[in-house]
């Protein structure tokens, strides 16, 4: 057994699980090491909203006992994980980063949570997020912002910023995020991690508190492509509790992550996702990564997806429209915050006062926007039109995937910006999701993999694949990761400052 828990937290998930399987490390030791790391750094990072030390150690002890009894455990057994606070887990509060759910203990596990438990992954606690997953910086959390471990004055991305920061700060080797318009990939990019939004319908949404039902998808955040693949495989697959979950086999992501070759693969560079507005350092790392893939034998093709230019406005009609309806259930009647119930006020007044007090400004902005877009007389001009754009974007993808195996672009136009820099400018904030939104609108899978640093901060490289060809992301991402690590001589995160 190792007696250096400080190093344990720097192991990848695959290494941690292998050490546990080999009896070199116990699940309790791995969990305790992670909890110690959380205790040490999370005051500064604020990745977690809730830490369930007791639950995590109990689960870990159970895993150790079963291993001791000779039971064969899964490939991630005993590995600690941070769960985004938008997924329900029994025994822990679920707040969605909102005041309106303060103190709510859900009576059921999300399907993703249940699959994590079934895979013997140890859930450390709930990760901070922009309120109801609305934001790109985690500044919209009602419980205070999370900070980027690369530079504590900067944002860790959002909405899954608690998840990305926890992994980047070595508080957990794995995290679950959710991605509605880029909320896994953008935090992964700005924290130097691998983040994957699986194909829509590939991972169950049951127990994922909906922001935008037709766009939301849970997925992995990890330090390596292989770790992300292992976590992806653990949570994916059909779920009869989610009608939009598709009954197809889980793509062979773990095998693809190990393939490490792109010879003969056709890789399309999306013309519309580059140029003006992209930081030079971001564009440079992207161009270098494309050149590297070319050197490894991939065929690079420039591809035009003309309707991607309309993705952002379409997204900002569809997502708020669905959110205005999804968030209607937060009404103080059955759970969560209740304000103004003084024995005199009627139900309508209590609902109104609770929502006024319980929702933050970004949530209110989007609820109002969506309510307007769906209202009689405006529906066709806004929601209806946005759905047509969505169809056109899907057709752009379909046409592109006739010519290439994957599409690539920078994940975000910029590196992590300072906390507060865009807080008062919603449009500037929305532009963060320019490159990531098309994949959500079309339901196709996409990954962000580290491409290097720009002025000391991580840059993300985005890969997009056809629906249910998630394995291609891992093949290309794994190959690029290996090549970049070899060129650099160490994993990117080793360059992060110590906390």
């Amino acid at each position: 057994m190792t007696d250096a828990p400080a190093d344990v937290v720097r192991l990848t998930a695959a290494e941690t699980a292998a050490a546990i399987a080999a009896g070199e490390l116990s699940a309790v030791e791995a969990t305790q090491a992670a909890l110690d790391r959380v205790a040490k750094v999370d005051d500064a990072v604020h990745a977690f909203l809730h830490v369930d030390a007791e639950g995590a150690l109990t689960a870990a002890a159970g895993i150790d006992a079963r291993r001791a009894a000779g039971e064969q455990l899964g490939p991630l057994a005993g590995v600690p994980l941070a769960l985004k606070d938008v997924l329900t887990a029994k025994g822990m509060p679920t707040t969605c980063g909102s005041r309106i759910l303060q103190g709510w203990y859900p009576p059921y596990d999300a399907t993703v949570t249940a699959r994590l438990r079934a895979a013997d992954i140890v859930i450390l606690g709930k990760a901070n997020m922009d309120e109801f997953a609305m934001g790109s910086s985690t500044e919209n959390s009602a419980y205070g912002p999370t900070r980027n471990p690369w530079d504590l004055a900067r944002i860790p991305g959002g909405s899954s910023g608690g998840s990305s920061a926890a992994v980047a700060a070595f508080e957990a080797p794995l995290a679950i995020g959710t991605d509605t318009g880029g909320s896994i990939r953008q935090p992964a990019a700005v924290c130097g991690l691998v983040g994957v939004k699986p194909t829509y319908g590939g991972v169950s949404r049951y127990g994922l508190v909906a922001f935008s039902s037709s766009l939301d998808q849970a997925g992995p955040l990890a330090r390596t492509v292989t770790d992300a693949a292992l976590l992806h495989a653990a949570i994916a697959g059909h779920d009869p509790m989610d009608s939009t979950s598709v009954e197809v086999p889980i793509p062979p992501v773990v095998e693809a992550a190990a393939r490490l070759e792109v010879l003969g693969m056709r890789i399309g560079v999306v013309r519309e996702l580059s140029g003006e507005g992209y930081e030079p350092g971001v564009q440079a790392r992207f161009d270098e990564a494309v050149e590297l893939l070319s050197q490894l034998g991939a065929e690079i093709v420039e591809v035009s997806c003309p309707h991607f230019d309309y993705a952002l406005p379409a997204y900002y009609l569809i997502a708020p429209s669905e959110c205005s309806s999804n968030l209607a259930r937060f009404d103080a009647m059955r759970f969560g915050l209740r304000v103004g119930d003084n024995g005199e006020a009627g139900a309508e007044e209590v609902m109104s006062r609770t929502r006024e007090a319980g929702f933050g400004p970004e949530v209110k902005r989007r609820v109002i926007l969506g309510t307007y877009a769906l209202s009689s007389g405006y529906y066709d001009a806004y929601y209806g039109q946005a759905q047509k754009v969505r169809t056109l974007i899907s057709r752009d993808f379909a046409a592109a995937f006739e010519r290439v195996d994957v599409l690539v672009s920078p994940t975000t136009p910029t590196v992590a910006f300072p906390i507060g820099a865009k807080a008062d400018d919603p449009i500037a904030m929305y532009l963060n999701d320019l490159c990531t939104i098309p994949a959500n609108l079309a339901g196709v899978p996409a990954m962000s993999v580290p491409a290097g640093l720009s002025e000391g901060l991580p840059v993300g490289f985005q890969i997009m694949a056809p629906a249910f060809a998630d394995d291609r992301l891992y093949q290309v991402g794994g190959t690029l990761e290996a090549a970049l690590d070899a060129r650099r001589g160490h994993p990117l995160l080793d360059a992060a400052p110590a906390l």
């Binding site: 709510w104 859900p106 509790m241 009608s243 059955r334």
Partner: protein
């Protein structure tokens, strides 16, 4: 309203109806009798303790998602096919957004511009005349919970100190059946709802109990002036919608009351306000609810948590093939096969004995006798026992046997009633009761002859009267013989024997 009621003269219904033509459309909600709810696995039993049949899905807890109940789809398709509708090969659910405490998600999953069934009709008969009521659409949706307002005098929200919500009903599947504005009289409206109820009952898709709310009806009513022959029809007037009518009688009464009210307003030069109204059973009048002109914008949009419903032709045809006989088809068949009249069918349906009569006929009884016993004697027994005829402890095959014994001369009607007593008392089948109670008609001539002779000998004054020409003096003699035979003789046979003995035959 702004105008005091006093200045408006209220016409009589007959006067209003003579001058104005009512235009009536009906929206009926039928709770489907599926074992589980529309979008989750919770039970649907009526009368369970409050909030005992709930789960994260039907409580609308954060993160929960709906999954469509296939049985509800099948039931809705059955109703659509029985109403001669087109069944959509592709349709979607939609969210209807509005806030109310008994609606868990603050939106109802319903259907909007893509209903499951469209463009059908239902034939309704009133006083021998057939009215074909167009069906605009049949769609599926989920029910809401139920609010109980506590502390007020009326049980209404006004004056209540607080409200309790029972979510057991939330998520129970409903179909909404919307007619064209084809109905022109309150009687046809009532008959339509009644026919629809029978249809749903025959399809076994709902228990259609209006008093429990498993079938509820909203009536849209407007008036327009009647025109003379050859004149162009007036356009439709502005309508009111009277909600939640919970009995057939209320449907008819509420529409009549609306016709009178609207005629009064129109006579006074007032305009009709498009609004929802509530019908008060006690006063027999409607009162204003919320005005549609300031109504909520429901912000319908396709339900993103559910995939579109794409029913194959094979599925629809399999459902069609599984349909049982519809009430109208059955009535036509009963008339053709058994010679029943429309009146008979109405009577038997109202008495709840149509199935029983059919089963009795199937067991060998002639149709008129089966009808007679199930329409008179047996419903009387059922009423006396406080049960429905179907719940009586006598089976149709036993009734058929009683009828057979009467036809064969072994039982008189009076004796048959005693046999039925015995069967109902659990003494066995008709033959066992006859044997045990010794109820068979005595056909032994010697015993009967002796009784006849004794009766003649005992009443010489009656014999004299008879012989003097008072032929009805034979009546008391028949009575005396029947009494001596303890009823176990056929009165007609006794009369014939007496007449013969007295030399009249």
């Amino acid at each position: 309203m702004s105008t005091p009621a006093a200045v408006m003269t209220t016409p009589s219904y007959e006067d209003a109806f003579a001058r104005y033509e009512p235009v009536i459309g009906l929206e009926t909600h039928v709770e489907l009798g599926t074992a589980s709810k529309m979008f989750c696995g919770c039970a649907t039993a009526f009368g369970a303790p409050p909030n005992s049949q709930v789960c994260p899905v039907c409580l609308g807890l954060p993160g929960a998602l709906p999954v469509v109940n296939e049985a509800a789809i099948r039931f809705a398709v059955m109703i659509g096919l029985a109403l001669n509708c087109q069944i959509a090969s592709w349709c979607r659910f939609a969210r209807k957004n509005y806030f109310y405490p008994d609606m868990p998600k603050n939106f109802q999953i319903s259907q909007y511009d893509e209903p499951l069934c469209t463009d059908g009709w239902l034939a309704v008969e009133v006083d021998g005349e057939v009215h074909r009521v167009g069906i605009t659409r049949v769609h599926l949706e989920e029910d809401t919970g139920k609010s109980l307002h506590v502390g007020g005098a009326t049980g209404r929200i006004h004056g209540a100190t607080h409200s309790l919500v029972d979510y057991n009903r939330a998520g129970i599947p409903l179909v909404e059946i919307v007619t064209e504005p084809d109905v022109r009289t309150p009687e046809v409206a009532r008959a339509y709802v009644e026919e629809l109820r029978e249809l749903c009952r025959a399809l076994a898709v709902s228990d259609v109990r209006m008093e429990q709310g498993s079938l509820r009806c909203d009536a849209n009513v407007s008036l327009r002036l009647r025109v003379g022959p050859g004149e162009a029809e007036k356009p439709f007037g502005i309508r009111s919608e009277t909600k939640n009518l919970n009995s057939l009688r209320s449907v008819e009464r509420a529409i009549r009351s609306e016709i009178v009210r609207q005629a009064g307003r129109l006579d006074a030069g007032e305009r009709i306000i498009q609004e929802t109204r509530h019908f008060d059973e006690a006063s027999g009048r409607t009162s204003s609810g919320r005005s549609k002109e300031e109504a909520t914008d429901y912000r319908y949009f396709p339900e993103p948590d559910l995939t579109p419903l794409a029913l194959s032709r094979e599925y629809v045809e399999a459902v069609r093939a599984s349909l049982t006989e519809l009430p109208s088809q059955r009535r036509a068949r009963l008339i053709a096969e058994h010679g029943f009249s429309d009146r008979d069918l109405v009577d038997m349906r109202n008495a709840g004995v149509l199935d029983l009569v059919e089963q009795t006929i199937a067991a060998g009884a002639p149709a008129p006798a089966a009808r007679k016993w199930w329409l008179n004697e047996l419903p009387r027994r059922a009423a006396g026992a406080g049960v429905t005829p179907a719940e009586l402890a006598i089976r149709p095959v036993q009734v058929a046997r009683v009828i057979e014994l009467i036809a064969g001369g072994s039982l008189t009607d009076a004796l048959a009633r005693k046999v039925i007593d015995g069967v109902l008392a659990g003494e066995g089948g008709p033959d066992e009761v006859v044997a045990a109670r010794g109820l068979a008609v005595v056909t032994d001539d010697s015993a009967l002859s002796a009784a006849v002779d004794a009766a003649i000998a005992a009443a010489p004054e009656l014999v004299d009267k008879f012989r003097a020409g008072k032929l009805n003096a034979v009546g008391p003699l028949v009575g005396a013989v029947m009494k001596a035979m303890k009823g176990k003789a056929d009165a007609a046979t006794v009369r014939a024997l007496l007449l013969e003995r007295l030399g009249a035959a």
